[in-house]
Amino acid sequence: MSKTILTIDDSPSVRQLVALTLSTAGYSVIEAGDGAEGYEKATTNRVNAVITDLNMPVMNGLDFIRKYRAHPSSAGIPIIFLTTESDDALKTEARAAGATGWLVKPFKQDQMLAIMRKVVGA
C-alpha cells in the first residue's frame, strides 16, 4: 500500500509541485490550504507523514504542529516543515513544537524525495 503524505501550504503552486513530485514517486497525497484544514485532514485520514509550510493564514505551521502533536494520532508521524527562512531560531521553534525535520525552499524534487525516504522510507 502506498504511503499517504499530507501537504499543507497556502500556495497552490507549491502544493501542486509537492503533490506532483510525491505522487510521481508513488506516494498518495492529500492537500490542505492552511493549518486548520491540515489538522482536520491529518486527524481524519491515515497519513504517514506531513509536509507543512510555516507561514500561512488562518492557522500557521507552528500552531498546526503543536495542535497536531497534542492529538494522539500524531505519535510517530513525521512532520517536515517547508521554510524559506534560513533562520535557525525558527527551526529550533518548529523542532520544539514537534516537527521532525525541515526542507528549505526552493528545493529540488530529488531533495524532497530524499527527505521523504529519510523519514518514511521508500
Binding site: 497552490p12 501542486q16 492529500i30 485532514k41 505519535a75 529519510k118 523519514v119
Partner: protein, 669 residues
Amino acid sequence: MSRPDPAETFRQEARDLLEALEQALLDLSEDHGDRELVDTAFRALHTLKGSGSMSGFDEVAAFVHDFETAFDRVRKGLAPISDALVRIALNAKDHVQLLIAEPGVHAAAGMPILAALHALVAENGVAAPPPGDAAMARPAKTVAEDGSASGWRVRFRLPGDAMAMGTNPLLLLEELRDLGPCEIVADDEAVPPLDDFDPLVIYLGWDVTLRADVPREAIEDVFLFLRDAMELSIDPLADERAEAGSDGADEPADVPVERAAPIKAAAASASKSGGASLRVAAERLDELMDCVGELVIAQARLSQIAGHSQDVGLSSVAEDIERLAATLRDTTMSVRMVPIGSLFGRFRRLVHDLADDLGKEVQFVTMGEETELDKTMVERLADPLVHIIRNAIDHGMEKPDKRLADGKSTCGTVRLTAVHSGAEVAISVSDDGAGLNAQRIRAKAEEAGLITPEARLSDHELFQYIFHPGFSTAQEITSISGRGVGMDVVKRAIEGLRGTIELTSKAGEGTKATLRLPLTLAIVEGMLVRVGDGRYAIPLSAVEECLELPASEVAGTSGRNFLDVRGTLVPYLRLREMFGTDAPPDLHQKVVIVGSGDLRVGLVVDQIIGNAQTVIKSLSRLHAGIGTFSGATILGDGEVALILDVAQLVSSAEQQQRRVSGRNLGIAA
C-alpha cells in the same frame, strides 16, 4: 485531461497575492500604524518568493526576495511606514507583475526601485543587510574534518522523544547502511524494566562501524534533523584498522550511493483531494452558458411538442426536462456570479494615484463588495466605472484649499456602492465635490443646438445632457479626463449591458452616478407580446403593470399620447405605428407599462402572450444601429422574437413628450 501547468498556477496565484499586497499597501497608506496590514503584505511577499522560486520564476523570486528584505525592516519596526514607502512599494509590486508577464525583459528596471526601497527603509542610518541567498546553508565546518577516511565509527543516542516526533531509528540505520557496509551494535544499557517501558521512547543507543570511504558530511547528513539534540560522535576508523590488520581492508569501499533516485517517468495517478473550491477556465463557463442557452431553447420546443401530443409519457418527460433545465440554468448562472469586490479593489489604486497626480486628497469608500454579478458583466463594467471615477476625482473633487474655503474638510470622499434590488444590481459612484454646473451644461447644450433657449428644463433633465456625444464641459483638457472619450461612451457601454445610468447632482454638495444593471447577460425572464403578426419579448424586470388601452385612446391620433394611470400621466408609444404594422388591430389593445430609471412609459401592443424564458442572442453587426431592439431570442416553435430595448423606448417616448410640450409652449407663447 491535461496536467495542470505549474507556471500557470503560479501566475494565477501571483495575481491573487499581488492584489492582496496592493490592498494591504493601500490600506497602509490610510493607516500607517496597522501592524496586521504589514504582516499581510509581508506574508504575500513571502509566499510569492517561495512559490516563485519553486515554479521557476527566478527573476521574480530574486526581486521579491530583495523587496521582502526591505519590507522585513518595516515589519520589525526598524523603518516607518510613509506615503513615500507605500508609493515605492506599489511601484515594486507593479514591477513584479511585469516580471511575471514578460520574463527576461524587465529585470534591469527593478534595480532603481529596489535602490529607492532600500534607501527608504535604511533612513535611520543602518543599511539593510545585503540580500544573500542562505537557502540550504550549512554551519561552517573545519576543513580538517572534511577529509574522508577508509571508515568511520559512528556512535549515537537519539533524544528520548524522537520517535514520538516522527523519527524512525530503523530508517536512520538503513540510511547509514546505504553509505556502505555496516556493523551495528545496539546499546541496551538504558532500557528500563518492563513496567516503566514506554513504547514511544527510544532507550537504545547505537554503535555503528561503517566501512566506506565517505565524507564525514554524508554521515552528518543522515542525522541532519537531530544533530543538535542528540549525542553523536563520528570518529575515523583509521587507527582501529591499523590495529585490526587486514580486517575489512578487502571490503569494497565504493558502494554506489543511492542518494536520490530518479523520479519514475510514468506519472502515477495523483489522488489529490479537491479543496472547497476550484478554479475553472473562464471560457469553459462561457461554453457551459451557451449550452444551457441552447438547452433552454430545445426544451421550450420539446414542451410545445409535448403540449400538442396525447402521449402521457412524453409530457411527463418534457415536464422533468423543463424542471431540470431550469435548475441547470439557475446553477450555471450562479456559478458565473462573482463578487464585484474584485473590481472595486482595482479602483483603490486608481483613486490613490489620481489623487496623488492631481494634488487632491481623496478618501475612497466602498460598500457592498460582496454583491454578486455575472462574470462577463463585472469585466465589462470596469472601463465605464473607471471613467466615472476619474470624472468624479478630476472634475468633481475640488483642491484641498478650495474645499477648505467652502467649509468642507480638505479630504474629499468618493463612495462606490453596490446593492441588489430585485433582478437588478444598482452601482453608484458618488462624490462630495463641487457638483455639476447646470448653467454651464445649459450653455453648452444650447450651443450644440440640443435645446432651444426657451425650453424649460429641470436641473435633473439638464444633467442628462452630459451623456450626449461630444459633450464635455471640461474647460481645460487634463491628462485624466476630457480626452474626447465622454460620458456618452460610458452610457453606451452601460446600455450595451442592458443597464441604465442616471446622474444626480447638487451644486456644492456633490454628484452621484447610479448604474442599474441586470444580474446576467445571457438569459432573462421575458414577457412575450404580439404586435400585428410579430412577437416581441420585453424583459420582465422592466415591466411594471399591464392595462387595457381605454376606448377613448384607441382611435386617438391626437399626438397627445398620455394615459391616466391612477392620476399620473404616463406617455405611451403605439408599437403598431412604430413597427408599421398593416394587420388589423385587435379590438382590445393592451398597454404594458415599463420603467427605466425614474421614468415610466406605456407600450401599446395587440396581445399579451405570457412569460417566456428568453435566451438572448445579439443582433448581427448589420442590425447594430437599430436602437429599438436589444437582441433576439428563439421561441419554442423555432420562430424568432425580437427583444425590445426598454431604455431606448423610454427615452424616445421622453423626447416625443418634450416635442409635444415644446409645441404647446410655442402655442402658448
